[in-house]
């Protein structure tokens, strides 16, 4: 395009040679040149931080990134969302037009933002928080992030980082190395270790296990 | 003495705008004698005022003078003091400027306990705009905007300042000029926020609607009503009714002053920064 920059497809800079669960798996969004992501939840869940960390990791991967956020006046409990555009070209218009990926950590976010997702997009949500998942015909992952976080670290506050690990495992949007750096750099001081544990657990999920109803659809126990 | 005082006056700006019998000139004179006595240098002395009769004093003083907007002398002075801690910064304000529109800044300056001296000229009335009541007017007083008598209670500004955290609180009157001169000296020397209420007569706007009416009578009334802190301590509240308690009402030299606390913090933060860099350097 105009600036004569060399496009670098998403994930390509430092793509993991393998994911923990599959040698072939590179991620559903790996290699794209332009991806719009929306994280939604309620205030206090760390949704904005999820966007910031993903954006930081993508920047470390040498992509052009814009992260915006929108939240209600309340610090706790109100709506909260964080949008990230990852591109091989500098980004002009900073808002999402049709998201490629929606990550919802609350019922309200799922119901409210499903409309912004493309028909061929990816919808990932917290299995326990989104009790009535909205109708969506694309690829869906329902994962009990909160429960997993509680089990792994004893703290529900690490849910966002765990989810981010899972999102990366599913999509391949950023390299694992950059994501780990971004998490360490962005989480509150003193929580690096516990968040890293959550991250590793998230990265370690097997996407196939949770796709389109996943474990629950097959009557399996909710976690492995 | 008179000649020495002249170095602090912009004589080319005189005569002043104040009316015959006004108390502002008396206090301004006391202020000049006080800073002369203290040996303040003109270079490092800044006078900040707001809007109103009292605030016009700044224009006559041959110092660094800042005539600001209505009610905002204290925050401007705060900016000056924080940027130049070596300056002696004195705020001249009135009961309208300092206690009405600028009331919020007054209480926060007290709370911050920043090393400023605030001399508030209290004549209970808006003189410059033609005799409207101020928040220090006694109930029942008459003003153009209180044609049926003042309905609202008045502020006791010294009690307000003390409660808000000022560490030097004093009151004087135009009738007790030696006393207020001494008070101003103490206030300027005090390391913290010094609040000084100077009770002054306004015969033109207050006197014409209230009693006593004449300047001399007003001064005489002030003198009669004045009672020193030590004498007041021996009287009951009933006996103190209608009295003007003068002198240093409150002083606390222990409480931390804002600017110096800030400077200490900066030194501490910079030290920590240096230590961190050294440690990083050693680690490499």
């Amino acid at each position: 395009m105009v600036d004569g920059t060399t496009p670098s497809p998403i994930g390509s800079d430092q793509a993991p040679t393998s994911t923990p669960s599959s040698a072939q798996w590179e991620g559903l969004l790996f290699g794209r040149e332009y991806v719009e992501v929306r994280f939604g939840g309620s205030g206090g869940q760390g949704v904005i931080l999820m966007g910031v960390i993903l954006a930081t990791a993508a920047t470390l991967d040498h992509h052009r990134v814009v992260q915006t956020e929108s939240y209600g006046p309340e610090a706790r409990g109100g709506y909260s969302r964080s949008d990230v555009i990852i591109s091989s070209e500098p980004v002009d218009y900073p808002e999402l037009e049709r998201a490629h990926l929606l990550v919802a950590l609350s019922q309200l976010a799922a119901s409210q933002y499903i409309g912004t997702l493309r028909n061929d997009g990816i919808f990932i949500y917290d299995l326990e928080k989104v009790v009535e998942p909205p109708v969506f015909k694309g690829i869906t992952f329902a994962i009990p992030f909160t429960e997993m976080a509680l089990e792994e670290t004893g703290r529900t506050q690490t849910t966002n980082i765990l989810a981010l690990g899972a999102v990366t495992s599913i999509t391949g949007l950023v390299s694992v190395e950059s994501l780990r750096k971004a998490v360490t750099g962005r989480v509150p001081a003193g929580t690096e270790e516990i968040n890293n544990r959550a991250l590793i657990r998230g990265l370690g999920i097997d996407p196939a296990e949770w796709q389109n109803g996943g474990a629950r659809a097959y009557g399996l126990p909710v976690d492995r | 003495m008179a000649l020495e005082i002249e170095q602090f006056l912009r004589t080319d700006r005189l005569p002043h705008i104040w009316c015959p019998g006004c108390g502002l000139g008396i206090i301004t004179g006391a202020f000049l004698r006080a800073i002369l006595d203290l040996g303040l240098t003109r270079e490092n002395t800044v006078v900040v005022s707001g809007i109103g009769c009292s605030s016009r004093a700044a224009g006559y003083l041959n110092l660094n003078t800042v005539h600001t907007i209505h009610g905002r002398a204290l925050p401007v002075a705060t900016g000056i003091k924080m940027a130049r801690p070596d300056f002696t910064v004195i705020v001249l304000t009135g009961d309208g400027d300092g206690a009405a529109i600028g009331g919020n800044h007054l209480i926060h300056s007290c709370r911050r306990n920043i090393d400023l001296t605030c001399i508030l000229f209290n004549n209970q009335i808006y003189g410059m705009t033609g005799g409207q009541f101020s928040p220090t007017m006694d109930p029942g007083g008459n003003a153009t905007t209180a044609p049926y008598g003042q309905l609202e209670p008045s502020f006791d500004l010294c009690r307000l300042a003390e409660a808000a955290g000022a560490t030097f609180v004093a009151r004087g009157t135009a009738a007790g000029v030696r006393q207020i001169e001494k008070i101003i000296k103490q206030g300027v020397q005090h390391p913290g926020f010094a609040f000084i209420e100077a009770v002054v007569p306004c015969p033109t706007e207050y006197g014409r609607r209230n009693k006593p009416a004449k300047a001399v009578d007003m001064l005489e009334e002030e003198r009669k009503r004045s009672i020193s802190v030590s004498k007041a301590a021996k009287l009951s509240p009933e006996e103190l009714e209608g009295k003007i308690v003068t002198g240093v009402l409150f002083q606390d030299v222990e409480r931390r002053e804002f600017q110096s606390t800030y400077a200490e913090t900066v030194a501490r933060v910079k030290d920590a920064e240096l230590a961190r860099r050294l440690a990083e350097g050693a680690g490499e």
């Binding site: 915006t68 500098p90 980004v91 | 900040v48 005539h67 900016g79 919020n104």
Partner: protein
């Protein structure tokens, strides 16, 4: 990149990457330009500026004070400015309204300072967390009286850095307050911050040296009375009309002369003050004139139009006031339509109309629902005007 901000980004703001928030980039720009005094009052969506200042200024020996309100904040900045400090404050619409009287005082006493207004939608409390460009006219005419105004508008994170520097430079050179307008999106967004981004958004006529610590004190020739407290000159500073001595005057001739000089010291330097960027110069029947986050929509619309075989020119304004008369009129002479997308009901479109309607048709696209104008919305309006398929 290392040359002018790399070390600051790494050391002081963001250990992990060069992804930085607009409000924080503003702080970097301010510190690099020599701002060492900040007094403010927190207000969404500008508070990150204040919070970063609270961390950074003590570390470099500067002064940070949280005041009791916005009036006190700007007044403290004026006080510091009068001692020769480079002072700054930041706020949003309601706080900016409170500052207006003191802003007029700063203009009158020629005290340089920078005010950053991260706009929210209004009037009143409005929507604190939604973007808006509703303070354009407040930035120009918010304080009473005829007065000069320098108003810049940031459209991205890089702008927040370099336009803050430009604001400091203009404030010192013209000895007047300078307002930098941003909005919730630009202030709170995080963006990869690179030289590439700066190159992409050029500042035409802005010959800046972005070196940390630079000051630009050479005064415009119209400025008089750059008094500094403690200089030994014993200045008298007053918001009353004053003559060349600094003391009040009621002389009609002197009053008029003073006001005209005050006004003209900015108006006469439009060539230096008006920063802009023209894209797709001289091609197309339509020019989108845009500023702030809408300039991003405009650029995206231009690219989208390009893909659809429609040629559109973009005039991206970084300086809103003084009015960029010359460039607007130059472009107006060659296009049939000027489209001004803005997040208000047409505040700047009126200004463009005044400048350009002699030569072209000026059409505003106003949006006030708290969302950005999309490139498609702009393009649809253009297509309506010129007939999309006709021009292919």
């Amino acid at each position: 990149m290392e040359s002018w901000h790399g070390h600051l980004l790494k050391e002081r703001v963001d250990q992990s990457s060069l992804l930085i928030q607009g409000n924080r980039a503003c702080v970097l720009g301010a510190l690099d330009a020599g701002v060492r005094f900040y007094a403010g009052y927190p207000i969404t969506p500008s508070s990150e500026i204040m919070e970063a200042m609270a961390v950074e200024l003590p570390r470099i020996g500067g002064v940070f004070v949280q005041m009791e309100d916005e009036i006190a904040s700007i007044c403290a900045c004026i006080g510091a400015s009068l001692t020769g400090e480079v002072a700054m404050t930041a706020t949003s619409g309601p706080g900016f309204s409170l500052m207006q009287e003191a802003l007029g005082y700063a203009i009158m006493v020629q005290a340089p300072l920078v005010v950053v207004d991260v706009m929210r939608s209004g009037p009143s409390t409005g929507r604190p967390t939604a973007p808006s460009q509703a303070d354009v006219m407040q930035a120009r005419w918010g304080t009473h009286g005829d007065h000069p105004a320098i108003v810049l508008a940031a459209s991205n994170v890089a702008d927040m850095y370099r336009l803050t520097m430009a604001a400091v430079r203009f404030a010192l050179r013209f000895r007047t307050p300078v307002t930098l307008l941003a909005d919730q999106v630009v202030g709170q967004m995080r963006e990869s911050f690179s030289e590439e981004l700066l190159g992409r958004y050029r500042l035409t006529s802005g010959d800046f040296d972005f070196t940390p610590g630079y000051l630009h004190p050479d005064l415009a020739r119209e400025v008089h009375l750059p008094h500094v407290l403690g200089s030994g000159e014993y200045p008298h500073v007053t918001g009353l009309f004053h003559d060349e001595t600094g003391f009040p005057t009621n002389d009609p001739e002197k009053t008029d002369k003073f006001l005209r000089e005050l006004y003209n010291k900015v108006a006469h330097h439009r060539d230096e003050l008006c920063l802009y960027d023209v894209k797709n110069e001289g091609r197309g029947r339509v020019c989108i004139v845009a500023y702030g986050s809408c300039a991003r929509s405009a650029r995206a619309a231009w690219r989208l139009a390009d893909q659809e075989g429609l040629s559109v020119e973009v005039l991206h304004l970084y300086t809103l006031f003084p009015l960029p008369v010359e460039i607007v009129q130059k472009v107006a002479r060659r296009v049939e339509f000027m489209i001004i997308p803005e997040l208000n009901l047409g505040q700047y479109a009126h200004e463009v109309r005044k400048m350009a309607e002699q030569w072209t048709t000026v059409i505003g696209i106003g949006k006030t629902d708290g969302t950005l104008i999309t490139p498609r919305e702009i393009l649809d309006r253009i297509a309506e005007l010129v007939g999309k398929y006709e021009s292919v």
